[in-house]
Amino acid sequence: MFELFRVIVQRDLLLAMRRRSDILSTLFFFVIVISLFPLGIGPEPSILREIAPGIFWVAALLASMLALERLFAVDYVDGSLEQMLLSPQPVFILVMGKVLAHWLVTGLPLVILSPLLGIQYDLSNEVLSALLLSLLLGTPALSLIGSIGAALTLGIRGGGVLVSLLVLPLYIPVLIFGAGAVEATVSGLGGQGHLSMLGAILIGALVLAPLATSAALRISAE
């Protein structure tokens, strides 16, 4: 079972490496959105420090949502998804593997880059590490929750816009606790409580989301 998981992750990573522009476009979307806010709001450091948690998290939400479309679409179009669903292997593992690969490719780069962007917002080292940690816990949860939406809208006309309608409301708890963790660190309260809630959400998503995604994939690929 673990072997299957490893094979799927490896395969998806390999495929992603062949189309590097896809990875980069998600990352640059994140960078550009975050760099636009100071231009719209003004360069006042005290204001930027205050709004940074919300902006980083909303940008992460949008970037993660934009990347969802490609989670299953390529395999769906070339028919390999159907093959995988027909094979006797558990779909749960398949979904876990694909989501992990997807997160490694679209989520992790964004997490790693966030402290660098945080410097633009005049954040202290302590806040930067809280931001990094909250994104590290939160973005995998986003990928997991988002996979449900991606599976439900597979092969539907206008699926891209539809995914945002389905998935963004479900992202709200992650947004609240993720931005909350950073904000609590900014105000000196410490973000431990928020981070543990994020961890709980991630564990819950790890258990439940692949179940829903597997069921949705079966329905969509029929």
Partner: protein, 249 residues
């Protein structure tokens, strides 16, 4: 007992549910009109003025029932979704489909009346109160369901995909609600409740209950008409639809 069970399963088929729904509609409609008449009379004339909130508090006679309905209808839709996914009956998905627009309507009404209550009481049309925010997110969930249903052409796939979306939403609603509540207390938003200051008098409670029952009867009537339309649309190629008196004439 066994016979009773079979009797109920009979109505799980659209063909036998269609006439039953037709018989329910006039009853539900009449009950709704009567209850609304009594409820409006109670909320506008009988209920005494609140000494703190003046006449403005009469809004809660519609705000609270609308908010109740918005949540109840979602729960009922989830119930039908579970049955539809477990037993694979077509009718249960049709019921969920017919309920959604009315649920979204009541959610909108709860938000609208919340704003009209908030303006005189809190001084603004909108506050990021935990309950109002949760209600807004509930509206998004309804819209997502309706949008997903609308964009899948294959009915069977639409039934099951939207059923899964409802289940996912049902699991998420408590999490969303508590996270919004926590967020709200952390940001020290307004903690004013809709029953601020005044303890609820029994006449207010009865008025609200009657309005809520009226909304129930109304929902049943409207949803039955809508589910009949859905049944006709989806079963249009079957023999029993072709033999219906409405179509023969």
């Amino acid at each position: 007992m066994k016979k009773g069970l079979i009797h109920w399963f009979k109505y799980a088929s659209p063909a036998s549910f269609y006439p039953l729904a037709g018989r329910i509609i006039p009853w539900a409609a009449v009950i709704a009109v009567l209850l609304f008449a009594v409820g409006l009379y109670m909320s506008l004339f009988v209920a005494p003025m609140d000494y703190k909130q003046g006449e403005g508090y009469r809004i809660i006679f519609i705000h609270v029932p609308a908010a109740w309905m918005s949540m109840f209808i979602y729960v009922v839709m989830v119930f039908w979704a579970i049955i539809g996914l477990a037993v694979n009956t077509r009718l249960s998905a049709m019921m969920a489909q017919a309920l959604a627009p009315t649920g979204a309507m009541f959610t909108f009404l709860a938000l609208w009346t919340g704003a009209f209550w908030g303006k005189p009481m809190w001084g603004t049309w909108w506050v990021w109160d935990a309950r109002l925010t949760s209600e807004l997110i509930l509206l998004f969930l309804y819209i997502g369901y309706i949008a997903l249903r609308g964009s899948i052409d294959d009915n069977r796939r639409a039934d099951r995909a939207s059923g899964i979306l409802l289940l996912v939403g049902a699991v998420n609603i408590p999490i969303i609600h508590y996270s919004v509540k926590w967020w709200n207390t952390l940001h020290q938003g307004s903690s004013v409740s809709f029953q601020q200051g005044s303890s609820m008098s029994s006449i207010m409670l009865y008025g609200m209950l009657i309005m809520a029952l009226a909304c129930w009867a109304y929902t049943i009537a409207v949803v039955m008409v809508r589910v009949r339309s859905v049944i006709l649309q989806r079963e249009k190629d079957t023999k029993w639809v072709k033999n219906l008196a409405e179509i023969q004439s």
